[in-house]
Symmetry: C2
Subunit: 221 residues, 2 copies
């Protein structure tokens, strides 16, 4: 699994990049890697971090006496380049790409995504859109049928060779979503059921929501 | 303001319709009406409830010793019919339609929506889409640019005459969104800035999120 953590913290309004902000006394990124490790202790974990955050991360690991095994890869200027960097280290037949700031990823969802990727080459978890949707354009905006849309989460899972070929063939480096790169290389994307709790922690509100999810999952005794 | 509360509770997995579930010791619907009343004590509040929930609601008001002034209107078989029923009672130049299970509506947002409705006839609050989006169709699915879309909230605000004409002219009764009825009557919809906290409480997860929002807003002394 490639875990991408390129955040600079600007959306969070904090100086600390969001992946390092603590939830329940531990940086978000540690929660994320632990979720992967607990799902499958043999899973190769490739953490992509901006080069200038490497020392900070290693200090954090020491401070928290934290030892989940993982590889480090240098992040690039865009998500695309970061994933490409991580992908150089991937050795398995399948590979997932996961947002570092989605710490609540459930094991069952990872099972669904990898199984479907094995069957069909490329699979992403999605959730229904629960609010009415409008499309905006130069001339105004209009309602669209939300039932025709899905919101995409991570991990986005692929046959490693398929993801690598798509990244090698890509004509742009500004893709914000990995499945879109694969789709641009003429591979269809399968959709699997996501999870409402698999939130991306990017705002102070999300952080409080994250604390709530952790409190729910922690036995109260 | 027409407040639509037609929920039967099925998505919440509870027997109690979701608008009656308690947040911080008080039914969600009371929080919603209080938000309106505190914003403007002169605002006409028209609460649309299924006929078979009227007695239950009035008992709840007694039990909670709750006396925010409001009119009651009988709900219909669809949201469209419920709003149409409430609209018969509307007397002001402007009218809003709000989901009964959005108790965290902020005063500033109501100001924005009504001001824009006065200027342009019809205004809805929207928030950006923060997740990647895919469109699904018979042949598969594909990525769309989330920057072109907005998620719609309530209150949706209108010149009363404009909303009434649209409802009178409507050819269908299955609209799930009021602005769409107005748009079908050839009136352009203006978009105003919504609020991430203005959530619709429809699942147990939302309910816990709601408790979090209330805790944030309540001074801890």
């Amino acid at each position: 699994m490639i875990i991408v953590a390129g955040g600079s913290g600007t959306r969070m309004g904090a100086d600390l990049p969001k992946q390092f902000i603590e939830l329940n006394g531990k940086p978000i990124l540690m929660h994320t890697l632990e979720a992967m490790h607990h799902f499958d202790a043999e899973m190769q974990l490739i953490l992509v971090l901006p080069e200038n955050q490497m020392d900070f991360w290693e200090n954090l690991c020491g401070k928290h006496n934290w030892a989940v095994p993982h590889l480090l890869a240098n992040g690039g200027a865009t998500r695309f380049l970061s994933v490409k960097s991580g992908l150089e280290h991937a050795t398995g037949e399948l590979v997932g790409v996961h947002d570092g700031v989605r710490p609540f990823v459930a094991a069952e969802m990872m099972v669904r995504c990898f199984a479907e990727a094995e069957r069909s080459k490329a699979a992403v978890p999605v959730v229904p859109i629960v609010q009415s949707l409008r499309i905006v354009h130069d001339g105004g905006n209009e309602a669209v049928n939300r039932d025709h849309y899905r919101a995409v989460q991570t991990p986005q899972c692929f046959k490693t060779a398929v993801l690598r070929e798509a990244f090698d063939n890509a004509k742009r480096t500004d893709y914000s979503d990995d499945a879109t790169v694969v789709e641009a290389n003429d591979v269809a994307i399968s959709l699997v059921e996501g999870d409402q709790e698999n939130i991306k922690v990017t705002t102070p509100f999300d952080l409080q929501l994250g604390q709530l999810i952790i409190a729910r999952r922690t036995p109260s005794n």
